[in-house]
Amino acid sequence: MESRPPIVVGAGPAGVRAAATLAAAGLAPIVVDEAPASGGQIYRRAPTGFTRPYGALYGFDAAKARRLHEAFDGIKGSIDYRPDTLVWDLKHGALHCLSGGRSREVPYRDVILAPGARDRIIPFPGWTLPGIYTLGGAQIALKYQGCAIGRRIVFMGTGPLLYLVAYQYAKAGGGIAAVLDTTPFAAKRRAVPGLLRGGSTFAKGLWYVAALHARGITMASGIRPVAAEGKDAAVSALLYRNAAGSERRLACDAIAFGFGLSSETQLADLAEIPFAFDPVQQQFLPERDLAGRTPVRGVYLAGDGGGIAGADAAEIGGERAALALLEDRGHAVNGPRVAALEQALRQIAGFRAALEAAFPFPADIAAGMPDETILCRCEGVTAGEFRRAALALDADEINRAKAFSRCGMGRCQGRVCGPAAAVVLAAALDMRPEQIGRLRGQPPVKPIPMGVGS
């Protein structure tokens, strides 16, 4: 039997459950995580010296957060845990891990990738002004640092995070100017039958909306952002069109926005897993089966990094992927448990489709992005420059358009602009996003100090 320890990349809900499952089978996995503590983004732990209890930090999900943290703390001593460590490359059967300014090559035979997700963004004029953050970022400021991102905040966009973060701010006493949803009310109503399958997830969403209403917070549906305006080099207002098409100006000193989540796929790409376009998520995703196996032998995917399905699915998927790894190593695994995990994953997938219908990605905002909008904030490339470069040089593939325009070539590797850039390019060429391809992951997947990678 293989003696080299399996590796888990990421210590969020998927990575923790994967590691715990491997540990329970008597293996001592290496767990590599970029963060200083386990929990991932959703169950991110407060830094040392912070005192708010679980209920204040995680609300309805306090029990889940505590269970996940305790599960990891329980195995920490029997695994090889490497926090504060960035996997910046993956090739020839080895991970390249950066920690404390030094890179080490860690060979693997089997690896579970659980890199998670980030906010999905559509740029709009003025979005790079100080005071404008992602919804996830606004949540991190509050939960991880005890800070509100401003005194008078506009929450804008779509997806479950919109109402959750606004609610958390309202509860913490943060000043809210308005909650502006890009989804028309009718679309959400149509999605209700499917959402009901989500059980408590749906109920929580309704609760947040009701709680915001009860506090008298201004809410609107079916809006479109027009521009963020600045004064003294920071945001001072959001200009938007309401559902009736009238322009409105809302004074604010901060904006939190986002349009659902986007999977972190760079490492899967470097592992040479084939990708396919996912019509529900509107993103190219690495291929994996329900068990988390990929077409590349020894590489497994778990959690939102393989497609957005949320924290509960990540925990289940993490356990399932670890069981797949164990099966492939010749361990006997509990068949009924495997069947139950897969059934749960199927159920959640059905609910996610309804959720995407309730909070559809407003691709029209990206397609109609004004030319002067900064599309790529790393390289300062406007939507107009991107369109002109693509059209003039006949770049009908996104990596060519990137090479000609520098859009997506900066430090973030298109994590921020990529989803919108694909829509901008497809619309400019009168093609569909799945026809123009996807930005390829490149090592280092995140910036590393000069000299480390040579």
């Binding site: 983004q41 912070f50 005192t51 992602t134 800070c147 509100a148 994590r415």
Partner: protein, 100 residues
């Protein structure tokens, strides 16, 4: 007094530490990220390389890479994932950065 971007609403009872931002002596709390320390003392983190004004971070989770700052000794740190330490000297302006 310059306005600040971030407003502390909880966890205010932590040890105070001193740091220097663009030559100005400032206060932060132990457990603050550099980003929090900068934005509870002002509204900027760095200058855009493209002349479109200051930036003040974006994703706060180490994905967007738009909050890299320099210490006076040249060390570069991602502000949202680095903790502040007593006596740190941070520069957020290119003119300081270039030594002009």
């Amino acid at each position: 007094m310059e306005s600040t971007q971030f407003q502390r609403v909880a966890e205010r009872d932590r040890p105070r530490i001193r740091l220097v931002i663009d030559g100005r002596s400032c206060e932060a709390l132990a457990g603050d990220t550099l980003l929090t320390a900068l934005l509870t003392n002002g509204r900027r983190v760095r200058a855009s390389e493209f002349g479109d004004g200051p930036r003040a971070g974006f994703c706060l989770m180490g994905a967007c890479q738009d909050c890299w700052v320099a210490l006076e000794d040249g060390t570069r740190l991602r502000a949202c994932t680095s903790f502040v330490a007593d006596g740190m000297r941070i520069v957020t302006r290119n003119d300081v950065d270039d030594g002009i």
